[in-house]
């Protein structure tokens, strides 16, 4: 399963996961989680207005569809079948639950922040998921090299 969050790093992770699936014949699932917990936090903190929250929720749903469709196109272009999964809520919990429910063997995620803050306030959902899931995790780096590998797939 590859986690997609709309960042360039997650698209690179998807390209790598497509290569892995192509080489190994593994089943591939692309999972996007709409972070409704963060939106609730923003409304509570009064950073978001009610209508702003609804607008962003709509945007996030549209972005999720768009990114999942894009990853699907990347996979189809290389003859790899992919299952799209969209959920919403607490990102790291959604990923962790999916890993258990779908009996995922490997979670593929994009590169984490290179800067490690000691402050608890800074958190990275991918990093939290990495620590929480029960399966092995592969962190994908070097987008240029991954792109070359993806492009070289027949």
């Amino acid at each position: 399963m590859v986690y997609i969050d709309g960042t360039e790093e997650s698209i690179t992770a998807a390209q790598y996961a497509i290569c892995l699936a192509s080489f190994s014949g593994a089943e591939l699932i692309a999972h996007y989680v709409i972070n409704t917990r963060a939106m609730d936090d923003l409304l509570k903190a009064r950073i978001f207005l009610q209508d702003e929250q609804l607008e962003y929720e709509h945007d996030m749903e549209a972005d999720a569809e768009r990114y999942l469709n894009y990853v699907n196109e990347l996979a189809v272009a290389k003859g790899v079948a992919i299952t799209k999964k969209l959920s919403s809520g607490n990102v790291n919990k959604e990923i962790s639950d999916s890993v258990k429910e779908m009996q995922i063997d490997l979670l593929v995620i994009g590169e984490l922040s290179r800067i490690r803050s000691r402050r608890d306030e800074f958190y990275d959902e991918s990093e939290r998921a990495m620590r929480l899931v029960s399966c092995s995790v592969l962190i994908v780096k070097d987008p240029d090299r991954v792109w070359e590998m993806y492009e070289s797939l027949a």
Binding site: G6, M60, S113, I115, F122, Y123, D124
Partner: protein, 149 residues
């Protein structure tokens, strides 16, 4: 792209020179332009001002989080301004804003945008950190504080 990756000295203005809210917004957007993070100051500024016109993003305890979606950026952009004397930001508690986080995001990147704002919201809850940031002597110290060094 995590929020902490955006925290670098060149996007921090300390102390802010402006004395009112519209000028602060312009000063922070200009800071991003000077740091070569954005090109189109006017579009970015208009997006932020349009959001402020709906309701001030001045929160409580001297924190303000002006933010907007704009085509003027292709990735998340953060500017931090510190005004030890405080600036009237029409905040919820009517207290002057001392610590201002300006966040710009392109349309189509709503997920990372929301997560970055949520991180700022968490930071704003730490009164001791906010107090330390407002007392920082320079941008380097702000970066060190945010990285927990």
């Amino acid at each position: 792209m995590a929020l902490i990756d955006l925290v670098v000295e060149k996007i921090i203005k300390i102390p802010l020179e402006s004395k009112d809210k519209p000028d602060v917004l312009r000063e922070l957007v200009q800071k991003l332009k000077n740091a070569e993070e954005i090109n189109d100051v006017d579009s970015a500024l208009k997006a932020v001002q349009d959001r402020e016109d709906k309701q001030s993003t001045g929160l409580t305890d001297g924190i303000a989080v002006p933010h907007a979606k704009t085509d003027a950026v292709s990735r998340l952009k953060l500017a931090i301004g510190i005004a030890p004397e405080g600036i009237d930001f029409d905040s919820l508690d009517k207290q002057p804003a001392k610590l201002i986080f300006l966040l710009l995001a392109p349309p189509g990147m709503s997920g990372p945008h929301v997560e970055a704002l949520a991180e700022i919201a968490k930071l704003a809850q730490s009164k001791s950190l906010c107090k330390a940031l407002c007392s920082a002597a320079n941008a380097q110290e702000v970066v060190q504080l945010l990285k927990g060094e």
